[in-house]
């Protein structure tokens, strides 16, 4: 189903300090990259993050579990979100 506002899902990654690895902290629905950045920063503001990034869910390519939730992103597997 297409979201009413033409939104896509963006996965949100963040770390609290420079030496820490980025970890997945959640996701946001947004109609584009600009609002995804704002929504992520405003939604996951419980920490004083050193770095936060968003990744379109459609850009996550599975490596070892082709039957998992990211299977749709494999080449030739249809609609990418």
């Amino acid at each position: 189903m297409t979201p009413p506002l033409g939104e896509s899902v963006y996965e949100v990654f963040a770390r609290k300090s420079r030496g820490e690895p980025l970890r997945h902290i959640g996701y946001v629905d947004a109609p584009g990259v600009e609002l995804a950045r704002v929504y992520a920063w405003k939604t996951y503001d419980e920490e004083n993050w050193f770095e936060m990034c968003v990744v379109p869910r459609g850009a996550v390519i599975p490596v070892n579990r082709p039957e998992g939730p990211w299977a749709r992103n494999l080449p030739g597997e249809g609609d990418e979100r």
Partner: protein, 254 residues
């Protein structure tokens, strides 16, 4: 508050603080009912930002002879120095979006000018506000572009909202009176010309997407109230009651 007209620096601080307080209230009206959950969360966060900034600005009045508690909790609506575009609630999302771009955008320019002057409290406290305001700018820019590109009724309403807010907001930002010139002469803020140019650099391209030429918009100073640095009128009582915290008055502990 003092019975007399505030000194130029005090008027400037009141103007910024009251506009932030009212803007926070208008943002908070849309925490529920905005276009998506994420948008509502962003509106909530922006409202918190504005209220926090207002609190910091009101605190700057303490050394100017004001009691911040009195300023925040006892003034009637007609003693507010807020931008007229915030006097009434936003009618729709086009109003909200236009206010983020026009009013919040003008506020950011005014704060940038203040932070660059020689008032120590502004130099130390305002830069963090401006860092938080950057997310407001991105939010407003993205939503404004989205409604403008949608065309039809969405674009027409957005254009109407922005055009309705611009003249009074430009007058608020660029009072062009002796009180403001005192601040300029004292090194507190940028000249009106520099403020206008920064405003146009920031907003012209975005407003053009809605068919608005910012350079052609003149400040509306009809009925100018020099003491409150704004045109006639005042914020609606419902907003001022919330700004003052009237419903919680019995809970205040001295």
């Amino acid at each position: 508050m003092t019975a007399n007209a505030p000194a130029p620096l005090s008027r400037h601080i009141l103007t910024l603080a009251d506009t932030k307080r009212l803007l926070g209230i208008r943002y908070s009206d849309w925490i529920l009912g905005s276009p998506s959950i994420e948008t509502g969360i962003a509106a909530s966060s922006m409202a918190q930002d504005e209220w926090g900034h207002a609190r910091l600005l009101y605190a700057m009045l303490k050394k100017q002879g004001f009691d911040p508690f009195e300023v925040e909790h006892t003034r009637p609506a007609d003693r507010y120095y807020s931008a007229p575009a915030l006097d009434r609630p936003f009618a729709d999302w086009a109003d909200f979006t236009a206010a983020v771009v026009v009013v919040d955008g003008a506020l950011a320019v005014a704060l940038e000018s203040f932070a660059d002057g020689n008032f120590a409290l502004a130099r130390t406290r305002v830069p963090k506000m401006l860092a938080e305001e950057e997310y407001h700018r991105q939010f407003g820019s993205a939503w404004f572009a989205r409604l403008a590109e949608a065309g039809g009724d969405a674009k027409a309403r957005l254009t109407g909202s922005a055009l309705a807010m611009l003249p009074s907001t430009l007058a608020w930002l660029l009072p062009g009176d002796d009180v403001y010139e005192d601040l300029v002469d004292g090194g507190r803020v940028w000249s009106g010309e520099r403020v206008r140019k920064r405003c146009e650099d920031r907003l012209s391209a975005l407003l053009a997407r809605a068919g608005i030429t910012l350079a052609d918009v003149e400040p509306d100073r009809a009925g100018w109230d020099a003491e409150r640095r704004r045109g006639p009128g005042s914020p609606a009582e419902e907003a001022v009651e919330r700004a003052r915290g009237d419903r919680n008055r019995d809970l205040f502990v001295e």
